[in-house]
Amino acid sequence: MRVAVVPPPTVASPQPRIKRRRGHGEAGAAWAYVSPAALIILGLGILPMAWSLVLSMQSSDLITPPQWIGLKNYEVISQDPSFRAAVVHTLVYTALFVPLAIAAGLGLALLLNREIRFIGFYRTLVFVPFVVSATAQGVLFSFIFDSHFGLANAILHRLHIPTQGFFADEHQALYLLVLIALWSGVGFCVVVYLAGLQDISKDLIEAAAIDGAGRVATFRHIIWPALRPVTVFLVVWETLQALQVFDMVFVTTRGGPLESTTVVVFFVWQQAFEVFNAGYAAAAAYVLAFGLLVLSIGIRFAQRRDDKEVSRS
């Protein structure tokens, strides 16, 4: 599709004069360059988002023509104990994973931020699990925590500790998922923090030491404030990831045992592609998305307020 060539904008442009001469055909070329990206990103981003909203007000099984039912899906979902349980599981998972991942990431980054022999080897080992797919992690840890043949119970047995049910135990499965997510997710926090630590000027830390600041004081007054933007990024990023956890749940527990690990995205997937209740699934997805939106706006406001306080002090 060709788009009409738009005359160059009349607003004063900061671009150098030489651009004027090649303004001819510029818009045409630009549209040709962006059209594949625009088509896919808008067609498979904006359009589905709107479609999903419509779908959430329909009753649809993805095969027969959908029926308009207004806000009925949202009414039902607000009363649905399974959905409520999924929200609770997701929040528990997120509330455990995010602080632990960030604290462990910072701790390990401080530990690994020194020049000793084999430090590269340690850094590599801590980060390697991050590149392993959630599927492979899930398969590996289903094996390690298998109640009969798993390494974990074998070690417990050797240590004369009673063996555990792990993924078969509805009181342990969700926490086990957090543990695995930490194993693979901490490495990312570590490398981001390490990059942040390397940006802190050595002179500043040495100056603090000369002024008599101990390790704790140096950390509190220099390192921690300098890492603040990195921490904010990690909190936002890890929270968004945690609220959308799916792959690992699908591979290890499929939401079980006794629905104890059904998280929101798993609930949405199940409703849409197992029960074929697509309208209801879309409504559930929108509830989660609304939560994400409120959260990210909240974080942005909190951050802005903090920034103001920091600049005032």
Binding site: I40, I41, P48, V131, V139, V192, D247
Partner: protein, 281 residues
């Protein structure tokens, strides 16, 4: 010796005492992967006893033989490779073109389009997955590799990353090429792209990683096991062979190995790509 540096040399050990802390940490992170490799070379008999063997006395290829004879792992490997390659190339090509247009060319609606594109970055996957499935169905792509390729062929992330990178490049070199009579596309190919190597590797690495490791979308879009990706095949294989752990681990290692090798070969690029997009983004 300066006491202020806080780094007193401890003479009683031939190595830094920090190794006492770091070695257990390394063990926690390394042990599961070591177990993955070890158990894939064990027989089911070695695994299926309680308590299971921790250090096997002999290594076997039973698991690999089973996986290669009774499952479609080679096929899935090929599918994953095709999808990842095409998606990476698509993101580089369309990302460069789109990013260049946003960074260097003036066209009506560019601001709006860019805002919309950036907006799609924050749309969660579970919102778009059902309609995307319906769109793929309309296009006749469901249950083909096309369904896995098309939605990821270019991401707003790639376009935006290239745009940011091009904005940081000096304009003068491009203008010199332009004055020398180079066409716009030739300028991009011969002048801009060679300068954009860090951006190219960042987009390639992150796109490869997310595409190769994805499970949710292939699970939705693919039914026929001949069109599975490795991750989907592995998940399904494990579901069907709950007690044949040696074969499952062999398959698991096959699925993990390409990413592991790529990572170990280009560790610096991987980590720089991740941290740069993290700290700037």
């Amino acid at each position: 010796m300066t006491p202020v540096s806080g780094r007193k040399r401890r003479g009683w050990l031939p190595f830094s005492p920090w190794h006492f802390v770091l070695a257990p940490v390394a063990l926690v992170f390394g042990l599961p992967l070591l177990w993955l490799v070890l158990s894939s070379f064990m027989t089911n008999a070695q695994i299926n006893k309680f308590p299971p063997t921790i250090i096997p006395d002999s290594l076997h290829l039973d698991g690999y033989r089973y996986v290669l004879q009774n499952a479609l792992f080679p096929r899935w490997f090929l599918n994953s490779t095709i999808v990842a390659l095409v998606v990476v190339i698509g993101n580089l090509l369309f990302g460069i073109l789109g990013g260049y247009a946003f960074a260097r060319l003036r066209f009506g609606g560019s601001k709006l389009l860019l805002t919309l594109m950036l907006g799609t970055l924050v749309i969660p996957f579970q919102i778009t997955m059902i309609p995307t499935f319906l769109i793929m169905k309309k296009l006749g792509l469901v249950d083909t590799l096309g369904a896995l390729i098309v939605p990821s062929l270019v991401t707003p992330f790639a376009v935006f990353l290239f745009r940011q990178f091009f904005l940081s490049l000096p304009r003068e070199i491009e203008e010199a090429a332009w004055i020398d009579g180079c066409s716009r596309l030739r300028t991009i190919w011969h002048v801009v792209v060679p300068m954009a190597r860090p951006a190219l590797s960042t987009v390639a690495v992150l796109t490869f990683l997310t595409t190769w490791n994805d499970l949710a979308w292939p699970l939705i879009a693919i039914n026929d096991d001949h069109n599975y990706t490795l991750q989907l095949g592995l998940a399904t294989f494990q579901g069907q062979h709950r007690t044949q752990w040696s074969a499952v681990m062999a398959g698991n290692l096959i699925a993990v190995l390409p990413v592991l090798i790529a990572f170990l070969a280009a560790q610096r690029t991987f980590i720089q790509s991740l941290t740069s997009s993290a700290i700037k983004g």
